[in-house]
């Protein structure tokens, strides 16, 4: 079940996002993902693992909203788009070409995060912008939280 390892990696990516974008520990409601059909990720398994892995962490109570992205190929003979399938051997139905170009379906993307700042932070008028030159060393407030979220299995 490699979704466990995918989740572990997603947690680390979220941790890095928090250190770069959020001034303090936010309450994350929803993590919006785009998961392509031509990946090794099973969305339902990922959601189940997420719930287990985030228990007792700063992401506890958050949920994943997964938007599937269909596999779309482009036939290089005629330029037309098509939906490659195993049943058709991934060939283009228009010109019977192999799957040369993938337009979409390889996405494994964190599209957006819905979160609330803690009560003392809610006067901030706008969402924090990414720091173009993030300091790799944690600030004092960040150092109070673990640098990596342990995965509970």
């Amino acid at each position: 079940m490699h979704e466990v390892d995918m989740t572990r990696c997603l947690l680390l990516s979220m941790q890095e996002w928090r250190q770069r974008h959020a001034p303090s520990v936010p309450t994350v409601r929803t993590v919006h993902l785009q998961v392509g059909d031509f990946t090794c990720v099973e969305p339902e398994q990922l959601s189940i693992t997420w719930g287990v892995a985030t228990a007792d962490s700063w992401l506890q109570g958050s949920r994943l909203a997964i938007e599937p992205v269909p596999l779309v190929g482009r036939c290089l003979a005629c330029g037309g788009s098509y939906s490659p399938s195993a049943a058709a051997g991934y060939r283009s139905p228009c010109c019977n070409r192999p799957m040369e170009e993938i337009v979409s379906g390889r996405e494994l993307r964190i599209r957006s995060v819905d979160y609330e700042l803690r009560a003392s932070e809610t006067t901030a008028p706008n969402a924090p912008k990414p720091d173009p030159n993030p300091d790799p060393s944690p600030t004092p407030s960040q150092s109070a939280v673990p640098s990596a979220v342990p995965l509970r299995t």
Binding site: S13, R29, A86, G89, Y90, L108, R109, K129
Partner: protein, 232 residues
């Protein structure tokens, strides 16, 4: 206050692993070595192939191996017997190597040698046709193996692995006389999901195709060194 953060980021779900993989690759480039990630299902013949390749190319390249295995060091012991430095990486429950594991293996390797003295660094991944395809470790080339005993439909059943590969080795071709398998059909299925990859038929036990495989390796190494010269 509710704040949708729509500029996020374009963060890849695997961004944390990707960053570490790029860090590893930067080291490989600084050391001027070619790193190859070897992947297949369990029993496709990764270790047998490496035994032959490490032995036959010993005079051509300085090589070392990072050997991934879930629970044992049996494969590492086989490769160490060939006479190359091998660092075993036991992954426990994880069914693939990730960039952090390879980084840890590199630190252990550095205790034994200077990686700048190497030409090729092999990463033998855990036997699995699914997740190793998604977890980069910093490699320059991905090599996938598919044995003729696995059937001709595997490239269509596990298309991501074969799409990602730069070279696919169809292994154990010495068994073809005993199997109802059409090897050309296997190759055709690979090219349907990845028309640009190299496909080479080999038998590690009988030696078929090893010259072509080793020529491919030399070409990749030469191409890498040519690019380094241009950049320099």
């Amino acid at each position: 206050m509710h704040m949708p953060l729509e500029d996020s980021l374009g963060l890849n779900l695997l961004a944390a692993n990707q960053h570490r993989a790029e860090h590893n690759r930067a080291h490989f480039d600084a050391w001027d070595l070619l790193c190859l990630n070897v992947m297949s299902s369990p029993g496709a013949g990764k270790t047998s192939l490496l035994e032959r390749t490490l032995s036959q190319l010993a005079d051509d390249f300085a090589m070392a191996v990072l050997e991934g295995d879930m629970t044992t060091q049996l494969d590492a012991e086989r490769l160490e017997a060939v006479g190359v430095p091998v660092v075993p990486i036991t992954t426990g429950r994880a069914c693939h190597l990730d960039a952090a594991m390879v980084s840890g293996g590199l630190r252990l390797l550095q205790q034994r040698l200077d990686p700048a003295d190497l030409d090729l660094l092999w990463v033998e991944n855990v036997g699995n046709l699914v997740c190793p395809a998604e977890f980069e470790v910093g490699e320059h080339r991905k090599v996938a193996l598919l044995s003729v005993t696995e059937g001709d439909d595997k490239p269509l059943k596990y298309p991501v692995m074969f799409r990602e590969a730069d070279c696919v080795l169809i292994t154990k071709v010495d068994l073809l006389p005993y199997l109802p398998v059409d090897v050309e059909r296997i190759a055709a299925h690979i090219h349907q999901v990845n028309p640009h990859c190299s496909v080479i038929q080999v038998s590690a036990s009988r030696g078929d195709g090893l010259d072509a495989w080793h020529d491919w390796l030399r070409q990749q190494r030469t191409a890498q060194q040519s690019r380094s010269l241009v950049v320099a």
